[in-house]
């Protein structure tokens, strides 16, 4: 078990290191960092001074070590556009994105699981077929189009919900704000959360359906029927319970991509999160922000993956056995 954990840790570090190399290469070789800092009429010796201060006169591998060292301390340099530390910019916008991502994950689970169970139990019924068809349409519609559609319906046409921004936010700590404590904040969250969560919802629905159908065929379900248990107890107590392990795993793994996909939703709803910041950085070639965002997403994916793998090994006795054999 210890060997397994160590091997997984080593793999994670290797992935992070290779992403760091890409991030560093972007930072160092795409455009000259010095040119972004000094103005056109800065005297030559001052330019040299800046170059020295940034450590760019040293060999590349020393620069890389320095970059990693700084990154580990949370220092990703200055944004070219805003002339502010990248970490500060990201931290300011993190609460908005995290709140949006968590709400849409919650939405996709709370709606996707019941829909999946329903389509599995009554799989030839009209409702099940309808859900299946809707899920295929949901997969085919690009996220931004869904967002526009919802805005048109609920903001422009019905006027029920706001179409942009976070509404009124409450400051909890120095740099943590939340919209969950005000009515306008919650109202503003509804449309973006649905937009972002819809794709994951269809994914979870299809997954739950497939898993449920699989489980319903197993012997222990037949045995439970033979014992004369109530259908409800079999469906929810026995079948759904065993379905949920892979579902929770996938949902956990999807959390990372929800945060990445938030770029699109945040743009549609002018949500002041990290995604919009990243998009602006791409448009204006603000490399430090791009590099930091890349590293952040990679770290997030690796952490979630690692956590899920270890949790799996801890929970599933079959997996533990195969680990011991290898």
């Amino acid at each position: 078990m210890l060997a397994f954990i160590l091997r997984r840790l080593a793999q994670s570090v290797a992935v992070l290191l290779s992403v760091a190399i890409i991030a560093f290469a972007m930072f160092r070789f795409v455009g000259d960092p010095v040119n972004q800092i000094v103005s056109l009429d800065t005297p030559a010796e001052q330019v040299e001074q800046v170059r020295k201060d940034l450590g760019l006169d040293k060999p590349v591998y020393i620069q890389f070590v320095r970059y990693i060292g700084n990154a580990l301390q949370g220092d990703f340099g200055q944004s070219y556009q805003f002339r502010q530390p990248v970490t500060k910019l990201l931290a300011e916008r993190a609460p908005a994105t995290l709140e949006l991502a968590l709400m849409s994950a919650l939405f996709s689970l709370l709606v996707g699981i019941p829909m999946g169970v329903y389509t599995a139990l009554y799989r030839d019924g009209f409702g099940a077929r309808l859900f299946q068809a809707v899920s295929l349409i949901g997969v085919s519609l690009p996220t931004f189009l869904i967002g526009i559609l919802l805005i048109y319906l609920f903001s422009v046409h019905l006027g029920w919900l706001p179409s942009f921004g976070r509404g009124q936010v409450v400051k909890i700590t120095e740099n943590w704000t939340t919209g969950l404590l005000t009515i306008s904040g919650i109202k503003a969250l509804i449309l973006p959360a649905i937009t972002l969560g819809l794709f994951q919802m269809t994914l979870i629905m299809r997954l739950v359906r497939a898993e449920m159908l699989e489980v319903m065929r197993t012997d222990y379900i037949k045995f439970a029927r033979a014992r004369g248990l109530k259908t409800r107890a079999i469906n929810f107590g026995h079948a759904l319970k065993n379905t949920l392990v892979p579902v929770i795993t996938i949902a956990g793994l999807q959390l990372g991509s929800i945060i990445a996909f938030a770029i699109i939703t945040e743009t549609v709803f002018q949500w002041p999160g990290m995604g919009v910041l990243f998009l602006k950085a791409v448009q204006n070639v603000d490399i430090p922000i791009m590099a930091a965002y890349l590293m952040m997403i990679a770290a997030l994916f690796v952490l979630i993956n690692l956590f899920v793998d270890l949790l799996y090994a801890a929970v599933d006795p079959r997996l533990r056995a195969t680990i011991r054999e290898s």
Binding site: S18, G31, P142, Y152, V156, L279, Q283
Partner: protein
């Protein structure tokens, strides 16, 4: 060992299925036939856009700003000249959609072609040569797989922007877009092809080809490739839909094509700005076109996956 037999079934299934089974399952599924019909009609309409469209929306001489934001023909204030109305620059929306669809399909196909070529080549090399080359390619694939395709495409776009002068960007926007899509989607092909190649490599006919002394590239292309290409077809179909969505998304986010050569995504992005003033048609019609086309392609892909899957027959 069970995997080996499954693989064998699948590849030989493909060859036989093209004779009759596929056609039969196609004929017995009305939805698939409808989807194929829609894809066919829309592709043809896009292909022949210059001859079908009432005007060329890219030709400044035919576009008048005075005609901007005219509603569709059947509404109050509509102009019989413009079937679906006009956009903010006075372009006929129907023509713009035909031309936009043309751009979208074109980018989707080329992007997927790049992804497929790259992925299949790397997968073949990784599977056939093995060893260090294999682990290098597959590690890169693993790392890339941790990022959603849209993020990869955005990053590549940003890097190219950084490397090039701004004047050159508009001219090569098309190239950047297809390359970003190609680089964002190659992993799936590489993994699939590598898996099948590993199986095929152990077969007698490959051993025989080696004994005869054929060079490795020739064996890979002439002998391994035809036997591993089956599953690639399914990924290819579904990926065309994904690539078109990716292109539309990038253009919507403002890092895709410039407004002078609009794709469906650019049109939707323009329309989105006029949604609040009540000019709903600018965003609606390109949106419906995009959704219908991608939905039809996905239906075709789903059907193809089931039709080529021996387990379901």
């Amino acid at each position: 060992m069970t995997e080996t037999t499954a693989q064998r079934k699948e590849t030989s299934m493909l060859a036989r299925a093209f004779d009759s089974d596929i056609w039969h399952s196609f004929k017995s599924s009305p939805i698939t036939m409808l989807a194929a019909f829609i894809v066919l009609v829309m592709t043809l309409a896009a292909l022949f856009a210059p001859w079908i469209a009432p005007m060329n929306p890219f030709d400044p001489a035919q576009v008048y700003l005075m005609n901007a934001n005219i509603p569709p023909r059947w509404l109050n204030g509509g102009d019989p000249q413009f079937l679906l109305g006009t956009d903010d620059q006075g372009r006929d929306l129907y023509s713009a959609i035909l031309y936009g669809l043309r751009v979208s399909i074109f980018i989707g196909l080329i992007g997927v072609a790049i992804a497929c070529t790259l992925g299949v080549t790397l997968g073949l090399v990784a599977g056939y040569i093995g060893g260090r080359v294999d682990s290098l390619i597959m590690r890169i694939a693993d790392v890339q797989l941790t990022f959603p395709a849209i993020l990869i495409a955005l990053l590549i776009d940003g890097i190219v922007r950084g490397l090039l002068k701004s004047a050159a960007r508009e001219d090569i926007a098309f190239g950047v877009l297809v390359v970003s899509i190609g680089l964002a989607f190659w992993v799936q092909y590489a993994r699939t092809v590598r898996g099948s190649t590993l199986v095929e490599k152990g077969r007698d006919y490959i051993q025989a080809a080696r004994l005869v002394g054929l060079p490795a590239p020739l064996i890979m292309i002439r002998h391994v490739l035809p036997n591993v290409i089956g599953p690639v077809l399914v990924i290819l179909t579904i990926n065309v839909g994904l690539a078109i969505i990716t292109e539309a998304t990038l253009s919507f986010l403002g890092v895709g094509l410039p407004p002078t050569q609009p794709s469906l995504g650019t049109l939707i992005s323009i329309g989105n700005r006029y949604l609040f003033s009540g000019d709903w048609w600018i965003v609606t019609f390109p949106g419906i076109t995009l959704a219908l086309f991608v939905l039809s392609i996905n239906l075709l892909g789903d059907w193809l996956r089931d039709a080529l899957n021996p387990k379901l027959q």
